[in-house]
């Protein structure tokens, strides 16, 4: 089994796992190590680092997010103008033309697809969908 060079510090802080039985904790950690060492996740982490260190990409994403929020706000009170839509389309076009952002989006999708394959593998053996059991009820 290939061992990853290091456990990359990505995502949020680890949640408390003191209630996980030791065998399950070990198996979970083994799965994490293998996910992180897989090609889709290595590519995702690499493009994520590149995206975070690219100020132009960051600015574009922040701009797009702000415009989308503003447009949603305007939609609720019916004050969206043609200029608003054109501005959003222009920023969307810039995002799509940004290689760093497109690489990030593409590698993230690859990682998600791989994670789904992994979930299918787990669920087949359990006879129940693991992701459904693991979802947090928030509504």
């Amino acid at each position: 089994m290939p061992l990853p060079a290091a456990h990359p510090a990505v995502g949020d802080a680890m949640p408390k796992t003191e209630n996980l039985p030791p065998e399950l904790y070990e198996a979970t950690d083994g799965l994490i190590q293998n996910l992180l060492a897989s090609e889709p996740f290595l590519a995702y982490q690499q493009s994520r680092v590149q995206m975070k260190s690219n100020s132009q990409a960051q600015t574009l994403i922040e701009r797009l997010s702000a415009l989308q929020t503003e447009l949603r706000r305007k939609q609720t009170n019916g004050s969206v103008t043609q200029a608003d839509i054109e501005e959003l389309r222009a920023v969307q076009a810039q995002v799509q033309a940004n290689a760093t952002l497109m690489a990030y989006a593409s590698t993230q999708q690859d990682a998600v697809n791989f994670l789904r394959e992994i979930n299918q593998e787990i669920s087949q053996l359990l006879g129940v969908d693991f992701a459904t059991l693991a979802k947090q009820s928030t509504c």
């Binding site: 083994g30 060492a37 897989s38 290595l42 789904r116 394959e117 787990i122 992701a131 947090q136």
Partner: protein
């Protein structure tokens, strides 16, 4: 897959990662929580009275579906629907299964949370499980 260069990093093959997934599933299946979940499910699925109570509730809910959507169900009908629901929910086999399911869910959330934090993606959301079922 596009060409990628990962200097000095050993890449795990897909099959190795899938084996780790199966090892994880096997470890989860061995937990007391998963065994209780399976056991209580088995008991519930063989509890004829519980299945009949569920069927009666579903039948009533279905017959009132249009009225429920319009919020036009009479008090008596609403009370009857609630009684049928409680008939099902208060059965021992249903309560035992619900408790076991809650225990297993908590365990799975913890394991998935550990995975999500490490990989930088929300496991359940990425795999298509929405919070609204």
């Amino acid at each position: 897959m596009r060409n990628l260069v990962f200097d000095d990093i050993e890449i795990a093959h897909v099959e190795v990662a899938k084996r780790a997934a199966r090892d994880f599933a096997a470890a989860l299946a061995e937990t007391q929580q998963f065994k209780a979940f399976e056991q209580t499910y088995e008991i519930l699925s063989h509890d004829v009275a519980a299945q009949q109570a569920l069927s009666a509730y579903r039948g009533k809910a279905e017959s009132l579906r249009a009225l429920l959507m319009l919020n036009a169900v009479s008090e008596a009908e609403r009370a009857e629907l609630e009684r049928l629901k409680q008939d099902y929910l208060t059965r021992a086999s249903v309560q035992a299964f619900a408790a076991a399911e809650a225990e297993l869910t908590a365990l799975c959330q913890q394991a998935a949370g550990m995975i999500s934090a490490a990989i930088g993606l929300n496991y359940a959301a990425s795999c298509g499980a929405s919070c609204c079922g």
